[in-house]
């Protein structure tokens, strides 16, 4: 009986404390309550479970060839998942498992500003069309891999300058080696140069 009485007493004490706090809040007025509410608002926006990766590792790369359902020069996002290199274009998701990758080549290349040139040509005529002479430096990544039936496949994308270096480091982290062919084996010595060659002091 004594124990039950103790519990009831403790409950009453707690209730009294709560009433006291409420009365203090009521005395401090609505301004403080509003401020407390505003301060707590961001907590409501935090999801209850850990969200998926917000953005891909490489955004808006240029697709050249190899990803089914994506046209040449369309923009593509690249994400390095735990087990695969993931290419995303709108709702299309194409996965290349790291285990299937046989070779990755990293090259330096040029692009022309095609859409901008078209817009400039429409706006300013021939002087605007001269924008086609302007070249845009990019890093070209060529990935050789095998599909689930052992068939030889390949794809090529172009990243913003020096993004290729970041991709190389990230791929190394997943156990995929990236080759940079010597200058003699490179496709076009004028427009496509080895990154390593370029970064030499």
């Amino acid at each position: 009986m004594e124990a039950v009485g103790g519990i009831i007493a403790a409950g009453q004490e707690a209730k009294k404390e709560l009433v006291d706090k409420q009365s203090v809040l009521a005395k401090e007025g609505p301004v403080r309550r509003t401020l407390v509410g505003v301060a707590l608002l961001p907590l409501l926006l935090v999801p209850a479970f850990p969200a998926e990766k917000a953005s891909p590792d490489f955004r808006k790369a240029f697709h050249l060839v190899g990803v089914p359902g994506v046209l040449r020069d369309e923009r593509i996002d690249i994400d390095l998942a735990a087990d695969a290199l993931v290419f995303q274009h709108k709702k299309l998701v194409y996965r290349v498992p790291y285990t299937g990758i046989t070779q990755v080549l990293l090259l330096r290349a040029d692009r022309v500003y095609e859409k901008s040139t078209y817009a400039a040509a429409v706006a300013f005529g021939f002087p605007g069309a001269l924008l086609i002479l302007k070249k845009h430096k990019v890093d070209t990544v060529v990935v050789d891999f095998k599909n689930e039936r052992g068939g030889r496949m390949g794809l090529a994308v172009q990243l913003e300058p020096y993004e290729g270096q970041r991709l190389r480091e990230m791929l190394k982290g997943h156990g995929v080696a990236v080759d940079e062919p010597p200058l003699s084996q490179i496709t076009d010595p004028k427009s496509t140069t080895s990154l390593e060659e370029e970064h030499k002091p």
Binding site: V65, G66, T140, V142, R152
Partner: protein, 169 residues
């Protein structure tokens, strides 16, 4: 009236015979599957972009997949279907002219054309017998904003598919 129809009928029969004989393919074998190897690049072609090499293969596979009389297209390294006629297609890029989109757009008249020439070989995948060897090319010399240079691989693929259709399907 009767004599007129009697004269026309043999003509139709002859025409039918000609079409039937003309439709027979070289070697007499109709292939259901085509296996495509990635094209090699000749040693003297030094400036051929690596992505074009993939582009030829992918464009060729796409073009072959659109072909009506073909059951399937296989890639290099894939297992051949048992008991089926498989045509094995290999090739070597023998000439490449990079061209310039700017020259095509600003100058025109054939200036800055991109050219890819390949020596294509067709084998019977089972017997490994060489059936046909042809030179095929893809060119870009005109197009929207001068045309994209990479379109040359698509032109090459279309020409190879024409040869496949004419001889093996």
């Amino acid at each position: 009236m009767k004599s007129r129809s009697a004269r026309i009928l043999p003509l139709f029969l002859c025409a039918g015979l000609v079409i039937a004989l003309g439709g027979e393919k070289k070697g007499g074998t109709r292939y259901e599957y085509v296996q495509v190897d990635r094209f090699n690049v000749a040693e003297d072609v030094v400036d051929f972009p690596a992505d074009y090499q993939i582009g030829i293969m992918e464009d060729l596979i796409k073009a072959l997949q659109r072909t009506k009389n073909l059951t399937g297209v296989l890639r290099e390294g894939e297992t051949l279907p048992e008991g089926k006629q498989v045509l094995h297609l290999t090739g070597t890029v023998t000439k490449f002219k990079k061209g310039s989109q700017a020259a095509r757009y600003l100058v025109g008249f054939g200036a800055g054309a991109t050219v890819v020439v390949a020596q294509v070989r067709f084998y019977d995948a089972t017997t490994k017998q060489l059936l046909l060897e042809r030179k095929a090319d893809g060119k870009v010399w005109i197009g929207v904003m001068g045309g994209k240079s990479a379109g040359a691989t698509n032109g090459l693929a279309k020409e190879i598919v024409k040869v496949v259709k004419a001889n093996f399907l």
